[in-house]
Symmetry: C2
Subunit: 175 residues, 2 copies
DNA sequence: GGAAAGGTTCATTATGTATTGAACAAAGTA
DNA sequence: TACTTTGTTCAATACATAATGAACCTTTCC
């Protein structure tokens, strides 16, 4: 427990020099929470990433838990997700058993992962379903078939548009 | 009630010539359900739009309810939403009090509405929050401030990238 | 070995959102 | 006017997903 005190600089003279002010922390966490929400990710994931993004130095899980008031389970799972998405990196610190986390600042890679994991499968699924529809159409009466072909054509052009957006978006983030 | 029979051609010789086959209906509804899910809209909205998209002729609410097995409430609210997004149009039919619905096929307009309503506000909100963060940063110690400025710079470039995607996406759908 | 810290798992609980259906309003119809 | 059809509203319910926290490994340290 003496260790607990020396391990991280949080104690002593009540100094918290390297910790952003409370309103700052709130604002930055909020920012990423709304981003997470947009991306369809759990709030806790946004909170954790937000906290790390503005933290001067890597944080350990127990520090994250303390600052965000979340449960061990949420923190563990949230970090697992962020790790698997390569949104955070694990770093070691000499003389400390804990894992410390650092945000991946090159958000491009992060976005690429998100697009690939979340959007890519959707597009593939859409493709598959369009194929299904086209197969079914062939068995229809000529009148119906004509109309359905036309409408499916519309969907096809959408599908293509969607597919072109991905590389474009990635290009934007490169600059 | 004699009216009920003559009103729509569903009765008589068990003919259902203008109604797509059941597997077709399933496939098309599924397609739009997954699209709705992607867009963060309720499943029922996707179902309704999907049904209309492949229907040869406009459908009334009670027909939609019958084919999709959903409640009056869901149908009413779903149609209200689709109307407000201009994803469907209301059409009248002589000698029938009911409102009939037709899909808006120019999906571009639909997407434009979605981007404007769902994505636009997010970007605006992000802008606001970034401003907030920048204001808070100025009160920080020089060391922290430098780092935060750098990181916020990253977010700014993201924000810009996001804003540029909208017109690009709309352009794609135009062609 | 025993104790404690660090971390994960997962059944339970909480929370937010969609759906339901009954009550209600409006507008014909007889 | 009484009755039916059409459609909306909204409180109650169902459902899906996230958060919780206790039980449980694993590793380190004495």
């Amino acid at each position: 427990m003496a260790q607990l005190v020396s391990r991280n600089g949080k104690r002593g003279r009540g100094s918290v020099a390297h910790v952003p002010s409370a309103p700052m922390r709130v604002a930055m966490v909020e920012f990423f929470v709304s981003l997470a929400d947009l991306a369809g990710l759990p709030k806790s994931v946004g909170e954790i990433y937000g906290l790390l993004f503005f933290s001067e130095k890597p944080l350990a899980m127990d520090e994250i838990i303390a600052q965000l008031h979340l449960s061990k389970g949420s923190a563990s799972q949230g970090l697992r997700f962020l790790r698997s998405s390569q949104a955070v990196r694990t770093v070691c610190q000499p003389g400390d058993r804990r894992d410390f986390y650092e945000p991946e600042l090159a958000l491009r890679r992060l976005a690429a992962g998100w697009l690939k994991e979340k959007i890519g499968p959707r597009l593939a699924e859409g493709e598959r379903k369009l194929g299904q529809l086209e197969a079914l159409i062939r068995k229809e009466s000529p009148g119906l078939r004509r109309m359905h072909q036309h409408r499916i054509g519309r969907l096809r052009s959408w599908q293509k548009a969607g597919q072109r957006i991905i590389p474009f978006a990635l290009g934007l983030l490169k600059g």
